[in-house]
Each structure stands twice: as C-alpha cells, then as structure tokens.
C-alpha cells in the first residue's frame, strides 16, 4: 500500500495517450534492465518510481510485456519466489538492452532539441 507521503509526491499531470504509448515500453525495459520483476511488482514500480506519472491500468502491463517479449526485448521465466509462490519473472535481454541504448539516445536528442526550442520554458516566463 502507498503511504500518505507517496501519494502526496504523485504527479498531478496526466500523460496523454500518445505520450504514454511511447514512454511506457521505454520505462518498462529500463526497469527490467536493472533487475528482473514479475507483473505486479513492475506495475507498482512503474507507478512509484515515476511519481505516479506512468501509472497505468494494471492490466495494461501484460499486453505491453507480451509485445516486448515478441520483439525479443524481454524474456520471461516461471520461478518460485522466496514466499513459495510461483511467479513469472521478466528481464531485459541483450537485444532489449541494445534497443534501450538506441531509445535513450533518441530520447536525449529529442529532449535537447525541445529544450533548444524552448518547450521547457517555465510558466511565468514571458517573451
């Protein structure tokens, strides 16, 4: 369960569908590059680590994972967790890491370009 402080730190911005569609695979493979996770854990990590910005309907994560699996970016394995329950753990593959590198590069280039354009200008700044 989220603590009160966690909920307070959540972003009040709601990402538009297209942004979400582009960002979610990148975020998922980024998390799975760090360590392997099972579905519920991944959903929680996405919500918590993104400050709520990448919170999605929990059911959304499974089609996303299957899609990444079909592309060979992630792989999955059923294993018994320390609590004895069997779970399906996902982790990034070598191909997934390589894809992630390319995505990061594009992301950095995009952010730099948007910054140069002044997209990041703060609310109060005038022309």
């Amino acid at each position: 369960m989220d603590s009160w402080a966690d909920r307070e730190n959540r972003s009040s911005v709601v990402l538009e569908r297209e942004w979400m569609r582009g960002a979610a695979p990148l975020a998922v493979v980024t998390l799975l590059e760090r360590r392997e996770m099972y579905g519920y854990e991944l959903v929680e990590a996405l919500e918590r680590d993104s400050g709520g910005l990448l919170a999605m309907g929990q059911s959304t994560v499974y089609p996303l994972l299957y899609n990444l699996e079909s592309k060979g970016h992630v792989t999955a394995e059923w294993r018994e967790a320390p609590n004895g329950r069997r779970r399906k753990y996902y982790k990034a593959t070598a191909a997934g890491r390589k894809w992630l590198e390319g995505q990061r590069s594009q992301w950095a280039t995009l952010v730099a370009a948007m910054t140069r354009l002044g997209v990041e200008r703060s609310e109060g700044a005038g022309i």
Binding site: M1, Y38, G39, Y40, E41, M56, G57, Q58, S59, T60, Y62, P63, L64, Y66, N67, E69, S70, K71, G72, N83, R85, R86, R87, K88
Partner: protein
C-alpha cells in the same frame, strides 16, 4: 466468497472475462496467461489490497483481453521460435496452420473481408493477365503474324476515322508481287447471320464476308471445307463465286454443330 487458490469469485470472473475476450488457444499460452493473472491478483491481495480495489486498479478486462489477443500469440510464436520462420517442420506447419484456421473461424467478418479481397484481387489479376496474354504475349493464330499488315486508304474527302480500301486498289495491290505475297480483303469486320439451306436441315451460321486469298494471306488453312479460288472473286474481291469455281460456303461453317 472465494474461488480457486483463494481468489474471490469476482476476481475469477474478471480473469475469465479477460481470457474470453483474448480468444487464446492453448498454444498461445491461454493457461499461462490465466496463471499469470491469478498470480497478479494474489500478489496484490498479499500486500493488503482489497479485492474490490484490485479489480478497480486492474482496469477494463475486455479491453485488456483484446490487447492480449493482439500481443500474446506473437510472444508465444516468438518463444516457440516460429515467428518469421520458414523452415518449420511439417508438424510445426500443421500446428501453425490449424491455429490460423481456428482464429479465422473466430473472426468471420474479418475472414470474409480477407477472402473477398483475395478473390477480387485474384479475379482482377487473372482477367488482366488473360487479356495481356491474348493480346501481347501469345502469338496471333496466323502463319507469320509479324508479316501481316492491315492497309486502308486515306483520302482528303473522307472523314478522319474512315478505314476503307476500294476494290480497284485491292486488285492493284495484288499485282505488286514484289511487295505482297498475298492480299485479301474484308467487306466488314462485323460478322452477319445467314441461313444455310444446302443440307437436310437449315442452319443459322455466322458469316464474315471476305475476299479470295483470305486463308492464304493469314497463313492458316480453313478448319472445314475448301478455300475460295482467286478466279471466283476477281476483280470484286467479295463477290459471290461464279458457277465455274468451287464455293467456299462450307469454309465458314462452325466446326461445332
């Protein structure tokens, strides 16, 4: 109220709804998806989330099923190693084709559109190829089609689309033996009907009025009967044969009775 593995009936119903919307086969990993979704709910319940909140946070099960329908079979094919693979064993081919047929049966509208599109595409292509084959690829059914030419006169007083050759001109061209091996003329390109009454039973036949030398010029023998002789028509190429020359009526009979 609890179902299998301690999950509530409501949660089991959500999982079932996802699976029903996903239309997965065993080969697509239907059972595995079911196990994974159950594990998901169990994990949520284990950290103290209420079943109601889990269901709410899970989202629309039908939409989830539809998204899983698009992605899970691809993942299963990838894991089987059959994705984009053409060197599958006969058993693997059979398995994939059976699965494809089953999925098509489940989507009759889509299948109908695909079949109609294919039928239309194949039909149109066949029709186009038939015309191209007959007009461009196949040789004309004449002896030496590359040596055949069509001639017509153009006089200033005639309209632009007139394509005629006067009888005296034909007779003249026939004397140009260094230029033309044979010269024959049509009265018209259009066949006309006629009644043939020289046998026991009258017959309706198609007639194309042509001059003598027609079959020689085309380089093909008639299917039936005899050819016109030149003497029969000169100098009017389409005149009826005279009594001292064999007639060509039988040449124009259709082979089928």
């Amino acid at each position: 109220m609890s179902g299998r593995r301690g999950l509530s009936k409501e949660i089991e119903a959500v999982i079932q709804e996802v699976l029903d919307s996903a239309h997965l086969d065993l080969i697509d990993g239907r059972d595995e998806v079911a196990r994974e979704l159950r594990a998901h709910f169990e994990d949520g319940l284990a950290v103290g989330t209420s079943p109601e909140e889990m269901i709410e946070r899970f989202g629309d099960p039908i939409a989830a099923g539809r998204r899983i329908a698009k992605t899970r079979p691809r993942a299963a094919a990838h894991n089987r190693g059959n994705q984009g693979k053409w060197w599958m064993s006969p058993d693997e081919w059979k398995q994939e084709l059976t699965r494809a047929a089953r999925r098509l049966r489940r989507a009759p509208g889509f299948t109908a559109i695909v079949v109609l599109t294919l039928a239309l595409g194949v039909g149109v292509n066949t029709a186009i190829f038939t015309v191209l084959n007959a007009v461009l690829l196949q040789e004309l059914p004449y002896g030496e089609p590359d040596r055949l030419v069509r001639m017509y006169e153009k006089l200033e007083t005639w309209s632009e689309d007139s394509q005629f050759l006067r009888a005296p001109a034909i007779a003249e061209y026939r004397t140009w033996v260094d230029v033309f091996e044979n010269v024959a003329a049509f009265y018209s390109y259009r066949e006309v009907g006629a009644d043939l009454t020289d046998g026991d039973v009258p017959q309706r036949v198609s007639v194309l009025r042509v001059s003598s030398g027609y079959f020689e010029t085309l380089g093909r023998p008639p299917l039936m009967g005899r050819r016109y002789c030149v003497r029969a028509t000169a100098p009017r190429p389409w005149a009826r044969p005279s009594a001292d020359c064999e007639t060509g009526w039988s040449s124009f009979r259709s082979p089928q009775r």
